[in-house]
C-alpha cells in the first residue's frame, strides 16, 4: 500500500498537469487514486487540490460526498489564507446546497464567494493558480471566479422564480466572461441564459443562447453539460410546437446522459423533462416510463430538486389513465416535495439572507457614505482647521499689530511727555543758567546797596559829631559824600530792579495768541520805538536808519508782542553797535541801521524774513557762538542784561518755528536774519 502511494504521489503533479484543471473532472479511476492520496498525504495544499477535483467529480452525482470535500477544501483554504481557493470552495458548496434544494444555504455561501472574489487581495499569492487561470494571471483567475459566481447566482435566482434578478446576474457573468474571453464560462452562461429565456417563452433568443453554448462546448471538447443543453433545446422546440426537432434533441440528451456516467443530474433532468413533454403530448404511458427512470436516477444521487416535477408527472399520467387514487397520492407527494424544497420557512430563510445581504450592502453603502462623509467631514474639518489657523494667524497678526500700535502710541505718548518734560527741563536749565547769572547780577548791585548804606549810617554818625563840634566845613563834606552814596544806592537798586524785570520777561511763558500780522508795520513801529528810546536816553546819539519793505509780504501768523520784542532787541543791538563804532571812529563814518523785510521761504516751505543790518564793528568770531546764551553781553556793566538775544532766540525758534541767524564781518558790520514760516506748525505754549 505504501509503495503504491509513493507511485501515486510521484505521478500526481503530472496528473494534475495533464488535466484541464479548471473544469475537467477526474475519471472514476482517477477519483479512486485521488481518494487514496487524500488519506495518505499530510500536505494541505495537495489535499486542497484533491478536494477540488473530487468535489467536481461528485457535484453532479453524490451531493453528500461533494459537500464533504468542498467543506474540507474550504477549511484548508481558510487555514492557508488562500482567498481565491476559499472563494472557490464556498462557491461549490453553494452549488451543492442549490442542488439539494437548500437555497438559503446556497445564497449564504455564494455571497461569501462574491465578497472574496470582489476583493483584489484575493489575487495575492494564489497557490497552483493554473487551477483557475491557464495563463497563470491572478487577475484573470479572480475574474473567472467572479464570472462563475454571478452565473451561479443567476441560476439560484432563476430557481427561486426571480427571473429578472437571474437575468441581471447572468449578464454580469457574461460581461466578465467576454472581457477575459473565458470559453468555459461563456459556455456555462450561454447555457443558463438559454434555459432562462426558454422558461420566459422567448424561444428564439433561447435557441440562440443554447446554440452558442453548444458551440463553445464543442470547441472546448467539454461535454459534461451537453445533456442539459439538449434538454433545453428540446424543451424549447416543444414550446415552439416542433415535436420532431424536440424528439431529436431529447434523444441526444438521453444519449449524452447515459454516456456520461457521472452526470446523473443531467440524466435525471432529461428523464424528468421527457416525462413532462409526454405529459404535454398526452402520452401517459411514456410519461410514467420516463418519470420512473427520472425517479430512480434522482434517488441514486440524493437530490430532491426536481422531485416535485417527477411526482407531478406521475400524478398527471395516472390522472390521464383514470387512476385517480394514484394520481392523488403522487399529487400529494409532489406537493410535499415542493414544500420541503421551498416551504415557507425556507423561503423565509432565503429572504432573510437576501435581506441580510441587502442590509449588509446597505451597511456597506452606509459605511461608504459614512466614509465619504467622514472624508468630507475631515476635509471640512481640515478646511475649518486651516481657516482657523489662518484666522488665528490673522487674529494674532492683527493683535500684534494692535500691540505694536499700542506700543507705538505708548512710545508716542512717552515721547510727547518726554518732549514736554524736556521743554520744561530746558526751561529749568535755562533758569539754572539764569540763577548763576542772577546771582552775579543781583549780588553786585546788592553789594553796593548794602555797603553804601552802611557807610552812610557811619557817615551820618560822623556828620552829627561834626555838627555838634561846629565843624561846618567837615559837615558839608560829609553831607556831599552821603548824597553821593545815596545816588549809588539808588542807582544800584534800579539796576537790580531792571535785572529782575528782564529776567521775568525772559522766563515768562508767552500768553499772546498768534494772529495774522503785517510784519512791515511791526518793523516800522519798533524801529522808531528803538531809535527814539535811545535818543531819549542819550541826547548825543544819532544814527541813520532805513526800512526797506517788501510790499508783497503776506500777513504772517505770529504773536505780535513777542516778535516786537525780538525786533526791539535786534534794533537796539544794532544802534548800540553803530554808537560804539561812532565813538571809536568819528570821521568818515556814517552809522546806519537798515531793516529789510522780504518773501524768502525757508528750506522746503514758504516763509518771510526780516533782516536787521548795522555797519558797526562786527562780532568777533570767538564770541559768535556765545551771543545767544543768556547773560552774554558785550555792553558795559549795567547797560545790558545779556538776555536780549537769548530771549529772541527762544521766541523765534521755540515760539514760532523759525530761524534766527547772524552774519558778521569784523569792521564791516553785522546782520541778523529772522526767518518765519508762513504755515506755522502747531504751537506748544
Amino acid at each position: 500500500m505504501k509503495y503504491l502511494l509513493k507511485i501515486v504521489l510521484l505521478l500526481f503533479p503530472s496528473f494534475l498537469m495533464a488535466q484541464n484543471a479548471i473544469f475537467d473532472e477526474p475519471t472514476k479511476k482517477q477519483a479512486d487514486s485521488l481518494l487514496v492520496v487524500f488519506h495518505a498525504t499530510q500536505n494541505d495544499t495537495i489535499r486542497m487540490e484533491i478536494c477540488k477535483q473530487l468535489g467536481m467529480y461528485y457535484d453532479e452525482a453524490n451531493q453528500d460526498s461533494a459537500i464533504f470535500f468542498r467543506q474540507y477544501e474550504l477549511k484548508i483554504a481558510r487555514q492557508l489564507n488562500q482567498k481565491l481557493w476559499e472563494a472557490h470552495a464556498s462557491m461549490e458548496l453553494g452549488y451543492s446546497m442549490w442542488n439539494t434544494g437548500n437555497y438559503a444555504q446556497s445564497l449564504h455561501y455564494y455571497l461569501q464567494t462574491v465578497n472574496l472574489a470582489q476583493d483584489k487581495e484575493s489575487e495575492k499569492n494564489i497557490w497552483n493558480i493554473t487551477a483557475f487561470s491557464k495563463s497563470k494571471n491572478p487577475r484573470l483567475a479572480r475574474q473567472y471566479m467572479l464570472s462563475s459566481i454571478y452565473d451561479l447566482l443567476g441560476l439560484l435566482y432563476h430557481s427561486t422564480g426571480n427571473d429578472e434578478k437571474a437575468r441581471s446576474f447572468y449578464f454580469k457573468s457574461l460581461k466578465i466572461a467576454e472581457e477575459v474571453n473565458d470559453p468555459h464560462m461563456l459556455f456555462l452562461v450561454n447555457m443558463d441564459l438559454g434555459d432562462l429565456y426558454s422558461s420566459l417563452d422567448r424561444l428564439d433568443s433561447a435557441l440562440i443562447f443554447e446554440q452558442h453554448a453548444l458551440t463553445f462546448a464543442n470547441s472546448l471538447g467539454y461535454s459534461k453539460y451537453n445533456g442539459i443543453i439538449y434538454i433545453s433545446i428540446a424543451e424549447t422546440y416543444v414550446k415552439k410546437g416542433n415535436p420532431d426537432s424536440a424528439q431529436v434533441y431529447f434523444n441526444h440528451a438521453i444519449r449524452e446522459g447515459k454516456r456520461n456516467e457521472n452526470n446523473l443530474m443531467a440524466l435525471a433532468n432529461v428523464y424528468s423533462s421527457m416525462a413532462q413533454t409526454y405529459n404535454r403530448w398526452k402520452m401517459p404511458d411514456s410519461v410514467l416510463a420516463y418519470a420512473e427512470m427520472a425517479l430512480k436516477t434522482v434517488n441514486r444521487m440524493h437530490s430532491i430538486r426536481i422531485l416535485p416535477w417527477i411526482y407531478s408527472s406521475f400524478s398527471s399520467a395516472y390522472k390521464m389513465k383514470g387512476k385517480t387514487d394514484s394520481a392523488f397520492i403522487y399529487l400529494e407527494l409532489s406537493v410535499n416535495a415542493k414544500d420541503s424544497l421551498a416551504n415557507a420557512d425556507k423561503i423565509k430563510q432565503f429572504q432573510n439572507i437576501e435581506f441580510d445581504q441587502e442590509f449588509h450592502q446597505q451597511e456597506l453603502e452606509k459605511e461608504k457614505i459614512l466614509y465619504q462623509s467622514k472624508i468630507r467631514t475631515n476635509a471640512l474639518m481640515g478646511g475649518l482647521f486651516t481657516l482657523l489657523v489662518i484666522a488665528f494667524l490673522l487674529y494674532r497678526n492683527s493683535k500684534q499689530k494692535q500691540k505694536a500700535k499700542r506700543k507705538i502710541e505708548l512710545a508716542y505718548d512717552q515721547l510727547k511727555a518726554t518732549q514736554a518734560q524736556l521743554i520744561h527741563s530746558e526751561k529749568m536749565a535755562s533758569l539754572g543758567e539764569l540763577t548763576a547769572g542772577i546771582a552775579h547780577e543781583i549780588q553786585n548791585p546788592l553789594n553796593f546797596v548794602n555797603n553804601f548804606s552802611e557807610v552812610n549810617i557811619e557817615l551820618a554818625g560822623d556828620l552829627l559829631e561834626e555838627i555838634k563840634n561846629g565843624n561846618l566845613k567837615e559837615a558839608d563834606d560829609l553831607v556831599k559824600d552821603i548824597i553821593h552814596n545815596e545816588e549809588k544806592i539808588n542807582q544800584h537798586g534800579r539796576r537790580a530792579d531792571a535785572i529782575v524785570k528782564s529776567m521775568l520777561q525772559h522766563s515768562r511763558s508767552s500768553t499772546g495768541t498768534k494772529e495774522p500780522t503785517d510784519l512791515n508795520t511791526l518793523a516800522d513801529e519798533y524801529l522808531r520805538l528803538a531809535y527814539h528810546g535811545l535818543r531819549a536816553k542819550d541826547k548825543s546819539f544819532n544814527a541813520d536808519f532805513k526800512l526797506e519793505v517788501d510790499e508783497s509780504l503776506p500777513k504772517v501768523n505770529v504773536v505780535a508782542q513777542d516778535i516786537g520784542r525780538v525786533l526791539l532787541n535786534l534794533i537796539n543791538n544794532a544802534f548800540f553797535a553803530v554808537s560804539v563804532k561812532t565813538k571809536k571812529n568819528p570821521e568818515n563814518y556814517k552809522p546806519q541801521v537798515i531793516v529789510t523785510t522780504s518773501n524768502s521761504p525757508l528750506e522746503g516751505g514758504r516763509g518771510v524774513s526780516i533782516r536787521v543790518k548795522d555797519n558797526g564793528p562786527g562780532i568777533p568770531t570767538e564770541i559768535k557762538d556765545k551771543i545767544f546764551q543768556p547773560f552774554f553781553t558785550t555792553k558795559p556793566t549795567g547797560q545790558g542784561t545779556g538776555l536780549g538775544l537769548s530771549m529772541s532766540y527762544d521766541i523765534i525758534i521755540k515760539g514760532h518755528g523759525g530761524e534766527i541767524t547772524v552774519e558778521s564781518q569784523a569792521g564791516e558790520g553785522t546782520e541778523f536774519i529772522v526767518t518765519l514760516p508762513l504755515s506755522l506748525p502747531n504751537q506748544q505754549s
Binding site: 546771582a439 549780588q443 553786585n444 546788592l446 546797596v449 552802611e454 559824600d481 552814596n485
Partner: protein, 124 residues
Amino acid sequence: MNILVVDDEKDIQPLFLQRFRKEIRNGELSFEFAYSGEDALNYLNGNLHEAVLILSDINMPGMSGLDLLDRIKQKHEVPPPFVMMITAYGDEENHKRAMALGADDFLTKPVDFNQLKEKIKTLI
C-alpha cells in the same frame, strides 16, 4: 600796606575808599584799583612788590579773576602776593577752582567789610 582791588564794577573804588577811610587816614592801608585783569597785570608789572594784598573779582569781561590769579601765582615774583578772591558767584565750583589755583582766601559778595577788616588785620 598796599592793596590792589580788581573789579569791573567802577563803583568799587568809592566804596572801598569810604569803608576804609579811617585806615587810609591813619596811613595803615593804601588802595590801588584796576577795572580788569589786564589793568591789574599792567599795574603789577610796573609796581613790583607794591601790592602785598590783591583783592580780585572773578567774573570780569576779558581776563577773568581766575586767569589773573593763575598768572600771579605762576608767573610772578617769589614770594607771591597774598591773593583774596571776592565774587558774587558763591558757588562751590568757583571756590574749589580758586583754591586749586592758589588763592589764599575767598569772599562772597555782598562783601562783609567788618570780616574783611579782621582778615586784613591778621595779615599786617
